[in-house]
Amino acid sequence: MKISYNFAFFDEGSKREIRRAALKAVAIPGYQVPFASREMPIARGWGTGGLQLTLSLIGKDDVIKVIDQGSDESVNAVNIKKLIKKTTGVEQTEKTSKASIIQSRHRIPEVPLNEEQILVLQVPIPEPLRLVEPSEYKTKRLHAENDYSGAWLMLFEQIMKYGSMSTGADHPVLVYGRYVMAPSPIPRFDNPKLTCSKALILLGAGREKKIYAVPPYTEVVSLAFDDYPFRVESFENKKCRICGATEVFMDEIIDEKTGMASYQCNDTSYCLKKLNNSADNQGGDISERI
């Protein structure tokens, strides 16, 4: 019983079903569309929602980029890329501007996206109200009845407890003035990139079986109070130790010997691009510096 897999793993019927859910998601910005999530060759919670979107959308001419936590080379990104390569054979890239589909976990690339691109975000917990209300039956009704006091309450409690909003990643956003949405665990730093994005942003939660979307040029506002405005992570006075970039999301690197902290771009492809540009100008050798 030798068997080979279809292009992009799924049978065509399954792809169509997933695309239909994605279309509905685009039509109702921020609304979580339930879909019959398939079991994938990678584990639930490892990006199966994003992968299903990618595989249902991908055509032979697409160019794919996969990042995990900002890095093209992270183990999980590599793993997903391998699977896409194995089942489709499409071209892969690390250059953000070259990709037509970008699947990402926990980051939106630093390079602004364009109208020809689709950003697919992997989502572990799509329900922004889950922490206040464990029951799916009830959260569905809260969305329908436009009662998001629970989401605000989470932020209020943080302020009461810690004196400021302390959501790390996944800070809830209001999409097109109607649905409150979990933007997936992107850092707060990336939240502003969601609003009026030129690229279509699709979010897929495989285990929780939901697809939702931020269509291009849609207003997305991070929840905040009048007297406690939304603030992104601060990298003030910090610059990338490799490429010198400022105002990007940075990883903190601790020197084992000295114990001193230094910073470098989290988005590796952006860092490399910046480095190449400056190397072209100055004629230096990049690899030495890395």
Partner: protein, 373 residues
């Protein structure tokens, strides 16, 4: 340090996969698929049941590939299942048509058609049989020969293909309420995401695909304390069920046009659960409700536990988690639970960096100094 944290993922993964293959092969022995099929019946049954795909061959390959890790084998089967177009549904089967190998009732000694003990671990002593250490193929064939000669005599004239159901007998006696057929088309949970409140067809599908351990544990919890149930196994049967498919070219709904596409071996359980019903003026009556459990292969504990949970979810008493459909149905799937737990192994550097930022903001510069601790 530098880029070490993020570069080189590709090489690392390839090496890890090689290492995994080495682990599988380092004993310098190959286990053939037919040996797995012949000797690992319990595993095959469990993988088919949790994998929700009836194929002994695929289950055997999966077990081989997964080195016997059940969660991994189930995962392989499920992922493969995702690539199969679903073009047809089988016709409704009356499980009375089962070719029965084993059939017991804990409720009545003399059930019509009689009890058939069949193959069961129930009455074995769980002593390790050290003779198995050097069992040979000759021993095996010799034993089979003598077993077959002894069993060639037909002991009874029972028709094993038409055994009546114990519950039907009770209905005839008026001991349980007869219920009409529910001919509503079942919802296919692999085509449509569940919505709460669920229908029974959805619940039964989730339960029968559930991880054996999880279903058993929750069923046990309902039995022990969190469900106030006292079920009796009305009937447990194991045997093969013939499957038929409607002739796709002939839409006239005639049974003789159906195609026979093969048999599946299943475990089916009906448990009787007494319920007190309030009647007029404080009078109470006892009625029996029936819990239903079914799964691929021989997996009796799971099927019984499923029948308990089926009844729990029908009742939906808010006081018990085992009656809460979201609690039960959303947490018993092997692929989902193992997947989400294992995703904790993925790097969470960005989220952690954000957390760190919040931590610093909330602590406003104070530090946990090691000297102070």
């Amino acid at each position: 340090m530098g880029y070490v944290a993020i570069k080189g993922g590709n090489i690392a993964i390839n090496e890890s996969i090689n290492r995994l293959k080495f682990e599988r092969l380092k004993g310098e022995e190959i286990i053939e698929i037919n040996r797995i099929k012949a000797g690992m019946r319990g595993m095959i049954d469990q993988v088919m049941s949790e994998g929700s795909l009836y194929s002994e061959d695929l289950a055997a390959i999966a077990i081989k590939q997964a080195e016997g890790s059940l969660e991994e084998a189930v995962f392989l089967i499920r992922a493969y299942r995702s690539t199969l177009p679903r073009k047809h549904y089988t016709r409704i089967i009356d499980s009375c048509e089962m070719f029965t190998e084993r059939r017991i009732s804990a409720s009545f000694k003399d059930i019509p058609g009689g009890q058939i003990l069949g193959a069961s671990y129930d009455y074995t002593h769980r002593l390790i049989d050290f003779d198995l250490l050097d069992e040979t193929k000759e021993d095996c064939l010799e034993w089979l020969e003598s077993f077959k000669s002894k069993n060639s005599i037909q002991w009874s004239d029972t028709n094993l293909r038409q055994l009546p159901k114990v519950s039907d007998y009770l209905r005839k006696e008026g001991l349980i309420k007869s219920c009409g057929n529910n001919d509503k088309e079942p919802i296919d949970i692999t085509k449509k995401n569940m919505e709460f409140p669920t229908e029974r067809s959805e619940r039964l599908q989730i339960l029968t695909r559930g991880q054996t351990g999880a279903v058993t544990s929750l069923g046990y919890a309902a039995l022990r304390a969190y469900g106030a149930l006292h079920p009796t196994v009305g009937e447990l049967r194991i045997g093969s069920l013939p499957l038929y498919m409607q002739n796709p070219l002939n839409t006239a709904d005639k049974d003789e046009d159906n195609y026979y596409i093969g048999d599946i071996r299943i475990t089916e359980v009906e448990t009787f659960i007494p319920k007190t019903i309030d009647k007029k003026q404080g009078k109470k009556e006892i009625d029996f409700e029936i819990g239903y459990g079914i799964c691929y292969g021989q997996n009796e504990t799971k099927a019984i536990a499923m029948s308990i949970l089926d009844q729990c979810l029908e009742t939906g008493d808010i006081n018990y988690p085992t009656h809460d459909e979201e609690f039960v149905l959303l947490h018993i799937d092997s692929v989902e639970s193992t997947g989400f737990i294992s995703h904790l192994k993925l790097p969470h550097y960005v989220t952690f960096q954000s957390k760190l930022d919040s931590f610093r903001k909330t602590h406003k510069g104070e530090r946990y100094d090691e000297d102070k601790l």
